[in-house]
Symmetry: C2
Subunit: 363 residues, 2 copies
């Protein structure tokens, strides 16, 4: 049976000050009325024939997951990590957890903090990925690029393989490229590596046993010693925290002979920067994306976000302005990668992202 | 005897959101550690041989005047207007008040919300203005322009007059000009009309009796019926509020034959916009004027003011960013005149300048 596994462990800082360590970007309303976590649940809920989704999340975010589920009235099972150790152990735990209940479990692994503009394309592609996965493939969605992004890894697709239309071998995975190289990648037909996958739980565990036996052993122990409780399954602390900290990409995807890529165009973005939020959002006739309590005069192609504070703008273009009651960000839209430097500076000053202590922050 | 009269009745909105109706710009720290009201008091205090200064202020600002006086440890007499009626009635009341105590009173009338960069030049020019005033002249300080400002009125100086060096007749006063006309004014040697004056109290009252007898009568009544109390002299409400609402410029200066102008260069600005604050303030090596809790990355020629809230900037140039706990302004520095439009928009929406009620604002 197909189960959606939603990885909800991120802690983004590039969308500061709306995204905080305590409230990472998947829980923040960025591109619409719902958070990206909620949009991900909506998308999964629209697929036919799935079991109840499994959400893998850190203990510190469990309450936010529950609150956001309640808000949209959807149910889910929780798999609670004592701490985040990248996606390798998270996916291994989910695979073991599902396999105990269904020896034929197929996993649709989705990041909780990605935006998909074309929900229909998503609904159409998943069954094809599932067909390929049923034949033992480890399927990764390869997003057809519309610009030479330097913020994504790329996949070089090889020849067609198997009976499912569109599925191709993976020639290799490429790291985030420099701008010139990204142009070459586009010309060569490379795809963006989205980090969303479909595979049989037993196939993935077989590859993990081969490539990362220590990781798998530790995770297996944390499942065996874990505790089912009314609010979800809690992985055992000590053994989980001894699992190798590694993303699934380097643990399995870049090594396995079973990897295939399914090219798709579905308006995907990992919403890594404020510029990506602007790009993924609906705009007014001046090209602005405005939310909250804002008064704009002569303002063009800007993102203005006023969370519980008034923001007024005059005579500005191509800016990102994000204001919260304790912190304000103003940056050029095409410099929104620099937010990382701002947050690093704050950390150097031993600040917890802003002025106010956590108990005074908005939920 | 020379008495400084400080007109402290303004209610600027162009410096929103730092300046509010309840806390107008003269009380805000804009260009340094002291408010412009306090800097004005400092300047007056540095002049030799003056009596205690007289501050004309509205009832709603009396407590702020007292608090800011206490902060810098200076004493002053207060003349309290029940409401603001422009500078004509304010100066008339001050003249009557001083004349009762000193028939030879000479008044140095200063706005509380102007910046003077060159305090030495100010100290040197005042005695010359007083000499001319003692001979019955109504002396206005004419600021030598360093650029064709369109935000100031101008004075066309005539021939030299009297025995005091530099004093010249006033040919005429000119309204705030269009940009091309301002260039003509500069070429013709026109001066900025600063709205700061020196004159004998009895001379001014004589001219008011001639040009604005009704105004003078009303103010005279409000002084006669006014009440001296421990916190200052309170002008009587009904009669003061019946006085013609008119600035001293149109009431007297533009009509009297006694007007003279004393040209001076003293780094003067009426700090009418955020750009003027930037211009009048000390800058770091990147040309920024930064105050409060700010983190700036790749930021140039900008004003960043973070009042009790964190402001982070990245990759921006020539911006004004003013953040307070209830409102944030972001505007292009050369568009800072547009702040007026922002405040008008807020007023159309029946807002009192921001989100929070007055009792939650900073003092």
């Amino acid at each position: 049976m197909l189960s959606a596994v939603i990885l909800c462990g991120g802690s983004g800082t590039r969308l500061w000050p709306a995204s905080r360590k305590t409230v990472p970007k998947q829980f923040v309303r960025l591109t619409g009325a719902r958070s990206m976590f909620q949009e991900t649940l909506d998308r999964v809920n629209s697929l036919p024939g799935l079991s109840i989704p499994l959400i893998v999340t850190g203990a510190i975010h469990k309450e936010q997951v529950e609150a956001q589920l309640a808000e949209i009235g959807l149910a889910a099972n929780l798999l609670v990590e004592p701490e985040g150790r990248e996606s390798g152990p998270a996916i291994a735990a989910a695979a073991l957890h599902l396999l105990e209940r269904d020896p034929d479990a197929i996993m649709l692994v989705l990041a909780a903090d990605h935006h998909i503009g074309d929900a229909m394309a998503f609904r159409e592609i998943v069954p094809r990925a599932v067909s390929a996965a049923a034949h033992g493939r480890i399927v990764t969605f390869g997003m057809r690029p519309d610009h030479p992004a330097t913020g994504y890894g790329y996949i070089a697709p090889g020849e067609a393989i198997g009976s499912v239309a569109g599925v191709r071998r993976v020639l290799h995975f490429a790291e985030k490229p420099a701008a010139e190289i990204a142009c070459d990648y586009l010309a060569a037909g490379y795809l963006w590596n989205s980090g969303n996958f479909v595979f049989r739980a037993d196939v993935l565990l077989g590859e993990l046993a081969r490539f990362e036996p220590a990781m798998l052993d530790a995770v297996r122990r944390s499942v065996a010693l874990g505790a089912e409780s009314i609010d979800g399954f809690h992985l055992e602390l000590e053994s989980f925290c001894s699992a190798t900290r590694k993303p699934i990409d380097t643990a399995v995807m870049e090594r396995t002979a079973h990897a295939v890529v399914l090219p798709v165009e579905m308006g995907w973005s990992d919403i890594g920067t404020w510029n990506a939020v602007w790009e993924a959002s609906g705009k007014d006739e001046a090209g602005n994306v405005i939310s909250g309590d804002a008064v704009t005069v002569d303002t063009r192609r800007s993102l203005v976000r006023a969370d519980n504070i008034l923001v007024a703008t005059a005579g500005v273009e191509d800016l990102v302005i994000v204001a919260t009651p304790d912190a304000v960000l103003v940056c050029r839209r095409d410099a929104s990668q620099s937010v990382r430097r701002v947050v690093e500076r704050l950390m150097q000053e031993n600040r917890v992202e802003a002025t106010l202590p956590p108990d005074k922050r908005r939920p």
